[in-house]
């Protein structure tokens, strides 16, 4: 006897709903596992009085956007253009994405 299409459809939707429910369980698990590290980050921020995330380190107003001068995008001179890539979509320089050959595994170390 062949399976009715509706049975197949319910099975697929049921599986998808189970998968959807599973991501909430997985998220809760990952949150519980990362809670200690999150607390450690918070504790360090409290201890050192940190005010910003270390995401963009190229200029003072991108490293600490919350502490930057007002109108910081124009701080160099009144019509200065943004010259750091954080604010735009420029790709990172090749040196950041290229991988160097690992010579230490190939070369024999001198005695």
């Amino acid at each position: 006897m062949s399976v009715r299409p509706s049975t197949l459809a319910f099975a697929i939707i049921g599986l998808a709903i189970a998968g959807f429910a599973a991501i909430f369980l997985d998220a809760a698990g990952l949150r519980a596992r990362g809670a200690a590290e999150l607390a450690a980050r918070g504790a360090l921020a409290a201890r050192l009085g940190l005010t910003d995330l270390a995401l963009f380190t190229e200029a003072r107003y991108t490293r600490h956007p919350s502490q930057a001068d007002l109108h910081s995008a124009f701080q160099d001179h009144p019509v200065a253009l943004e010259h750091f890539p954080t604010g735009s979509l420029l790709p990172p320089p090749a040196s950041l994405v290229s991988h160097h050959e690992r010579l230490d595994r190939k070369a024999a170390s001198p005695d």
Binding site: S6, A9, A27, G34, L44, A45, G49, L50, T57, D69
Partner: protein
């Protein structure tokens, strides 16, 4: 009840058989629909997790940071400044006042900026430093190594690495270099008694705004920065990036909207004839509409659930390789971190509403129009 369920199952059987007759077209639509939900959900999940992370970590930052401004620029706090605040007495409710020492150093070796800091809460021995994880990585530092920096005065200073900050804190400490106050002042030739800014702790959160207003009044050249402003700054940074990504994606969204509308609303002659035949053999208008509702519901629900689950797996299990460069940004000293998943119920509901409902509506309206026409004319057209 059983009869009702059996009827619905027959309707589903029928609509699936009808979909299977145009298999390639319908599978293509399902795939594109799933991909669209996947892309939108990935952006939403990733930015929400980043926003949450920033909010969770930075809620521990000082309630107020007081800067001094000279000609619109951030300037050093002179020695008398702290006392002046103390004497004015508008600071009832302030628990702790602390002058902070920090500054930037450009390291030409790795072409990156470090944040040098002399923390009051951490005892770092003179002549030593504690390096942030990205600094240690980029300069290959380990405990006991010696590292030299050329100060802005031209003098060379050597430090022994006393420790590195834990990897778990990288998001806030990647570029930090902690040193003693004595070393910091010598390195930057910081005048004695001067500080970079002042951090204030306020016990009562309702008082923070009052204290900031009184400070601004008592010290007109000062600029108080509240913690809530810091949190708002980060929320807006990630909102902007999310918006940028969505703006780029909008072309794809519109393309899908046209495709779905075309597919769902432009009934083919074959479909019209099918409806005509169904009505001629005794189906009611309600039955035709129910059948099409099942079709729209099954397609959109499958696409939504599959797209969302795939997006979650991509973002939190594989580190979001598709959108990370745009949403996180980059820097020479970039922190390596794993996001803690945060799923916003409202965001899920919004995504559901804006992907599932328009499709259902696009399916329903033309079918209703076709279903109420005379079967004879529907078959002839």
């Amino acid at each position: 009840m059983n009869a009702w369920i059996e009827k619905q199952r027959h309707l589903i059987d029928f609509t699936l058989a009808s979909l299977a007759r145009r298999r390639t077209k319908n599978l293509g639509l399902l795939l594109v629909y799933t991909l669209l939900v996947f892309v939108l959900a990935s952006v939403a999940l990733y930015t929400h997790a980043l926003r949450q992370e920033a909010a969770q970590v930075l809620k521990h930052s000082p309630e107020i940071v007081l800067q001094r401004m000279v000609a619109g620029r951030h300037d050093l706090i002179p020695p008398g400044y702290l006392e002046k605040i103390g004497q004015k007495g508008p600071l009832r409710g302030v628990q702790k006042i602390e002058g902070r020492l920090w500054g930037y150093y450009y390291d030409p070796v790795v072409k990156a900026n470090y944040t040098f800091m002399a923390p009051a809460a951490e005892a770092v021995q003179p002549g030593t430093l504690v390096a942030g994880p990205a600094v240690a990585r980029s300069r290959g530092l380990a405990v006991g190594n010696t590292i030299s920096f050329r100060a802005y005065s031209g003098k060379l200073f050597s430090f022994t690495v006393a420790g590195t900050l834990p990897h778990a804190s990288e998001l806030v400490s990647a570029d930090l270099v902690l040193m003693s106050e004595q070393d910091f002042r010598a390195f930057f030739e910081f005048p004695a008694g001067h500080h970079t800014d002042i951090a204030l702790s306020v016990a009562n959160p309702l008082e923070v705004r009052n204290v900031a207003a009184k400070l601004a009044a008592a010290l007109p050249d000062s600029r108080p920065i509240l913690r809530e402003e810091v949190l708002r700054t980060y929320a807006s940074v990630f909102d902007w990036r999310e918006g940028l990504m969505l703006a780029l994606l909008s072309a794809a969204i519109f393309a899908f909207a046209i495709l779905a509308w075309e597919k769902a609303s432009g009934l083919s002659a074959e479909e019209k004839r099918e409806i005509g035949i169904l009505k001629a053999i005794g189906w009611e208008t309600g039955d035709v509409i129910k059948m099409k509702l099942w079709e729209g519901g099954l397609v959109s629900l499958t696409a939504f659930l599959a797209g969302f689950v795939a997006a979650y797996v991509q973002v939190f299990r594989f580190g979001a390789p598709l959108f990370e460069p745009v949403l996180k940004g980059w820097a020479v000293l970039y922190p390596r971190f794993e996001l803690v998943p945060a799923i916003d119920g409202l965001q899920v509901a919004t995504l559901f509403f804006f992907t599932v409902f328009p499709y259902m509506a696009a399916v329903l309206v033309p079918i209703w129009r076709a279903a109420i026409t005379d079967p004879d004319s529907a078959m002839r057209s």
